[in-house]
């Protein structure tokens, strides 16, 4: 493992130790800050509930992420190729995006129900915009002179898109997709908190109602583990695919 990875691990362990020390030393009540060891113990005890909930949330986040990324890239390609679409469409998309996605959740729950579909739609919405905007910026960033060079070789629009603009936009598309990993989990959990049949958000909501804050923390623990793993995986794929950066 690299040095920075080790530093990250040591830093995290130090924070957790300080947390444990503070919670025990000041004898903080569980609703303020439970001790790390208590959270871990609770997570282990309630694993039968947490594991399926974690799976559900992860599946919702992943499906929404896939749909959102495809739509985001698709729309960006469309606007990069059919430039006249930009004038009328871009302001509309920006207006939709100017409101935090969570604001749309009551409507989405109403339209798509309390089940998995509404979570996927919400995640796709959140991820789609981030990926769309970064992909569009990527397509616009292409060097004018490279386009001219391709044209001088007799390349048409399709060849320029496929051989130049798409690969040139990849680094920014990948950045957008990496940032979206964390967002996808956040949005899935928030939407679950507003109405769901299961998932980590639902567990958090139920635990709050039952004033079981250790359970809230153990669900958060599972969520952040999934989030970190997802972020790390996408980051690793990005480094492999975009090797020239």
């Amino acid at each position: 493992m690299s040095r920075s990875t080790w530093r990250g691990i040591i830093g995290t362990l130090l924070v957790l130790a300080a947390w444990e020390g503070a919670a025990r030393g000041f004898q903080l009540p569980a609703y303020t800050l439970p001790a790390v060891s208590d959270i871990l113990a609770a997570a282990w005890r309630t694993r039968a509930a947490l594991i399926p909930a974690g799976w559900l949330t992860m599946l919702e986040a992943l499906s929404g992420y896939a749909v959102g990324s495809l739509l985001g890239i698709g729309f960006a390609v469309l606007m990069a190729v059919v430039t006249p679409l930009r004038g009328p469409l871009l302001p509309v998309l920006m207006a939709i995006n100017s409101v935090p996605v969570a604001a749309y959740s009551p409507l989405v729950l109403l339209w798509f129900g309390i089940g998995v579909a509404s979570k996927v739609v919400m995640v796709a919405l959140a991820v789609g915009f981030t990926v769309f905007l970064s992909a569009l910026a990527g397509f616009d960033r292409v060097d004018r002179r490279s386009v001219d060079l391709m044209r001088s070789f007799g390349a048409g629009r399709a060849a320029i898109l496929w051989r130049l603009r798409l690969p040139a936009a990849l680094p920014l598309i990948a950045t957008g997709m990496r940032v979206s990993t964390v967002r996808s989990l956040i949005v899935a959990i928030v939407t679950e908190m507003l109405g769901a049949y299961g998932g980590l958000g639902w567990i958090i909501y139920q635990a709050v109602v039952q004033i079981d804050f250790v359970q809230v923390w153990s669900a958060i623990l599972v969520a952040s583990c999934i989030s970190l793993a997802f972020f790390g995986l996408v980051g690793a794929i990005e480094r492999r695919v975009i090797f020239w950066r």
Partner: protein, 268 residues
């Protein structure tokens, strides 16, 4: 028949180009014969790049200008894909290795990728790139990147090659090495080359003919044949005939540089 053979490959007359209030070219006239190596020098901002963009087909000249390719009058846009163009910067694609960068133009033409790769592989030693086929641009030195770009230009086999200051970004030593090497390659492949530079030594050392451009708006101020024998060697640049030609060309450029300097500073 004799007439046909005498037809220049490229001919321009009364070519002007205006960008808004700026006139980049005004009444440009010149021709390039098949197999000739013509170099273009001029003060900075004299419209050399505009001239190149027209010949590459990227920009149309103003109405009234005449452009002929192989004796046929044509629009600049019709030259797209018919001239192999090498811009100032190498513009290699960072996600393609040396061979795949070299065959980019062939791929766009629709050539078989496997055959193009095999051809490129066979050409690597000539371009000093043997063993580097799998390297990516960020792993190469400036001189090597430039050679890959030149190879891409050579692979795109067209009668006319346009080179826009291909060695401008290289250090002096690498540049002289590349010039000698380019002459070597040219002697073997015998393409027609139109080569832009701002280096008078380079223009004379390489060219059969040097065109000196005027200050903006650009036109051809002087057409200077270079009757120096080939193959040319490094010590040519200190020969008296070379120095005499250099003096002529420098005087012409100096006059133009003063003009554009006076224009831009408003001095009299």
């Amino acid at each position: 028949m004799a007439e046909l053979a005498d037809t220049p490959l490229l001919e321009m007359s009364r070519v002007s180009k205006t960008f808004g209030p700026v006139q980049a070219l005004n009444g440009l006239e010149f021709s390039v014969n098949a197999g000739e190596f013509v170099t273009v020098v001029g003060p900075s901002g004299c419209g050399k790049s505009t001239l190149f963009n027209i010949v590459a087909g990227l920009e149309e000249p103003d109405d009234g200008g005449i452009l002929r390719f192989k004796g046929q009058s044509c629009h600049a846009a019709e030259l797209l894909g018919r001239v192999s163009f090498m811009p100032q910067r190498d513009l290699l694609l960072p996600w393609r290795n040396v061979v795949d960068n070299a065959i980019l133009a062939n791929e766009i033409e629709g050539a078989n990728r496997k055959e193009a790769r095999a051809k490129a592989l066979a050409m690597l030693p000539e371009f000093g790139l043997a063993g580097f086929e799998k390297q990516y641009p960020h792993q190469l030195s400036g001189g090597m990147r430039q050679r890959v770009a030149l190879m891409r230009t050579f692979m795109f086999e067209r009668e006319l090659m346009l080179l826009d200051e291909p060695f401008g970004a290289l250090d002096a030593l690498t540049r002289t090495m590349m010039q000698r090497w380019l002459l070597d390659v040219w002697q073997r492949h015998r393409r027609t080359i139109l080569f832009i530079t701002h280096d008078v030594d380079e223009a004379l050392f390489l060219g059969d003919r040097v065109l000196v451009m005027s200050a903006r708006p650009g036109r051809v101020k002087m057409n200077c044949p270079v009757p120096l024998p080939r193959p040319r060697h490094a010590d040519l640049v200190t020969a008296p005939e070379f120095i005499a030609l250099k003096r002529q060309v420098l005087d012409a450029i100096e006059e133009e540089a003063m003009k554009s300097f006076t224009l831009s500073t408003g001095a009299h």
